[in-house]
């Protein structure tokens, strides 16, 4: 039996005249961790922007728990239950670490699993620097703040756009160590990664994007290296 929390059908996206997504289909099962891999410029962040309402889409193209949300604005999508750790973290420089986390609950607190205390429990280092400006932290700590901020709305679906970008391997390991608890909290997760190895490790389903299309989809164990290579870089001539 399948129980889709998020389903995307024939999604297109444009920047002005430039078409960035061409009929993307994607289903996120409840409780699943889905990884989207793909080279730079493949359209991964565009897909995230479309889901979160930063880019507008046809209403029916995106459904959350069976409810069409494609036409909603970003605040409405957040309130419907999707939150995002955006590419590049995008902490608010004028806010302290603690305020950056708290603002994630500005207009939705959800089921209440994630509170400020729960976030500090997940990332204890953040409690020590909670009164610092968010942007005074190291890259890894900033990423933890961005994850904490996104969790504060207790989302049904958490989107993470390239959380390992620019971070050292040990830091990436620490950050991904938080994922079992995030999934335990009831959130279904989509992680966007350029790092294929990382993606295969955390996900129970992997989709590969290239040039605005999904070119491969399957469980990590089912996908051969060659198939991933072809889907990622295009079939070598």
């Amino acid at each position: 039996m399948t129980d889709a929390v998020l389903s995307i059908r024939n999604l297109t996206a444009f920047y002005g005249d430039f078409q960035a997504l061409f009929g993307v289909d994607l289903t996120l099962q409840r409780g699943q961790a889905l990884a989207i891999i793909g080279a730079n410029g493949a359209g991964k962040s565009t897909l995230m922007r479309a889901i979160t309402g930063i880019l507008s889409s046809p209403a029916e193209a995106i459904q959350l728990n069976g409810r069409p949300i494609g036409a909603l604005s970003a605040p409405e999508v957040l309130e419907a239950g999707i939150s995002m750790v955006p590419e590049g973290r995008r902490l608010f420089p004028s806010l302290t670490v603690e305020e950056n986390i708290l603002i994630g609950a500005h207009s939705r607190t959800g089921n209440g699993y994630w509170t400020l205390e729960a976030i500090y429990d997940l990332f204890p280092i953040l409690k020590e620097c909670r009164h610092n400006p968010g942007t005074a932290l190291s890259g890894g700590q900033q990423q933890m703040v961005a994850i904490g901020r996104a969790l504060m709305s207790n989302p049904d679906v958490l989107l993470c756009d390239e959380i390992s970008l620019g971070l050292a391997p040990v830091i990436i390991r620490d950050i991904y160590a938080s994922f079992p608890r995030i999934r335990e909290s009831g959130a279904s997760v989509i992680v966007v990664e350029q790092d294929i190895g990382q993606a295969l490790k955390v996900a129970d389903h992997v989709c590969c994007m290239m040039e605005g299309r999904i070119t491969l989809s399957g469980a990590p164990g089912e996908l051969s290296r060659d198939a991933i290579h072809d889907a990622y870089f295009g079939v070598s001539a």
Binding site: A74, F92, I103, R108
Partner: protein, 287 residues
């Protein structure tokens, strides 16, 4: 002793300029919008208070309590239906629109109230004064400065201690990411302009009690306000208070030397500060 007196009078005058500037500073800090109609909106508020005084026979202080929520609504509507539509990466459209608004308000007031100068009468308190050591200060100027400090303090509390203030700062940092937090930047901007108009009403109250006003005086108030904001450092509310006081003191000193130099001295102080510190006295770190 005369110099001490002059400087104290200048500081008190600076309170009025800080009140002119506080709303401008708030709006600029949140949405990078320079509202060229700010001075005219203060004059509009002064006429609104005057109308309430005349219609209901109230003291101007009480009338201002009625005018303030009306001006909040004016600010909210102005932002929601006009300014939000022109805010964007290009700073020219909002400048043009607020310049047009300035002309519209001036002409509207001229039609409705004529070019005659008006004054708000607060009664005996206007002439009251307090001995303060070797000098005497007027109760009204003192009240003006105290109000300015209270307003700036309250705005700072709002900015740094409330959830709304967090939304203000987050939106000003990055409106797109603020949207991902469920914040609606347009609503935030509308509330901010509403609050700025409440502050403008307080400024109008003291302006109208202190001196005559007529529909044409808005742009000159805008210039003082603008100078105070720039001297203080864009986006810093306490800086705006300091900027207002600096202009007030410069004007008072100029006037003490030669009454004709009052206005000029204020502008010269502005230019000198800009030459020494182009980003103002208290620039925000992340601008």
């Amino acid at each position: 002793m005369i110099w001490v007196d002059t400087i104290v009078q200048g500081i008190l005058l600076g309170g009025l300029y800080a009140l002119f500037a506080a709303g401008l500073s708030l709006v600029f800090g949140i949405m990078r919008l320079v509202n060229l109609a700010h001075g005219d909106l203060i004059v509009l508020a002064a006429f609104l208070i005057l109308t309430v005084v005349n219609l209901l026979g109230l003291n101007p202080f009480v009338a201002a309590l009625i005018a303030a929520p009306v001006m909040f609504a004016v600010g909210w509507l102005l932002q929601s239906y006009v300014l939000n539509r022109v805010l964007g990466d290009d700073i020219l459209p909002p400048l043009l629109v607020t310049f047009g608004l300035s002309v519209v308000i001036q002409n509207g007031l001229l039609e409705s109230f004529s070019a005659d100068s008006q004054k708000l009468s607060a009664g005996p308190i206007e002439a009251a004064s307090l001995p303060l050591g070797p000098i005497t200060v007027g109760v009204m100027p003192l009240l003006t400065l105290i109000s300015a400090v209270v307003v700036i303090f309250a705005l700072n509390q709002l900015f740094y201690r409330t959830k709304l203030g967090q939304a203000f700062r987050a939106t000003s940092d990055d409106a797109v990411t603020a949207g991902l937090m469920g914040i609606r930047p347009r609503n935030v901007f509308a509330i901010a302009t509403g609050i700025a108009m409440v502050v403008a009403t307080i400024a109008a109250l003291y302006l109208g009690i202190r001196a005559n006003f007529d529909p044409s005086i808005g742009p000159a108030r805008l210039i003082y306000a603008f100078e105070a904001v720039i001297i203080g450092g864009l986006g810093s509310l306490w800086g705006t208070l300091a900027g207002g006081i600096l202009i007030g003191v410069a004007q008072a000193l100029g006037a003490a030397v030669n009454p004709e130099w009052q206005i000029l001295a204020g502008h010269i102080a502005f230019v000198i500060v800009l030459l020494i510190r182009p980003r103002g006295l208290f620039p925000r770190a992340n601008d």
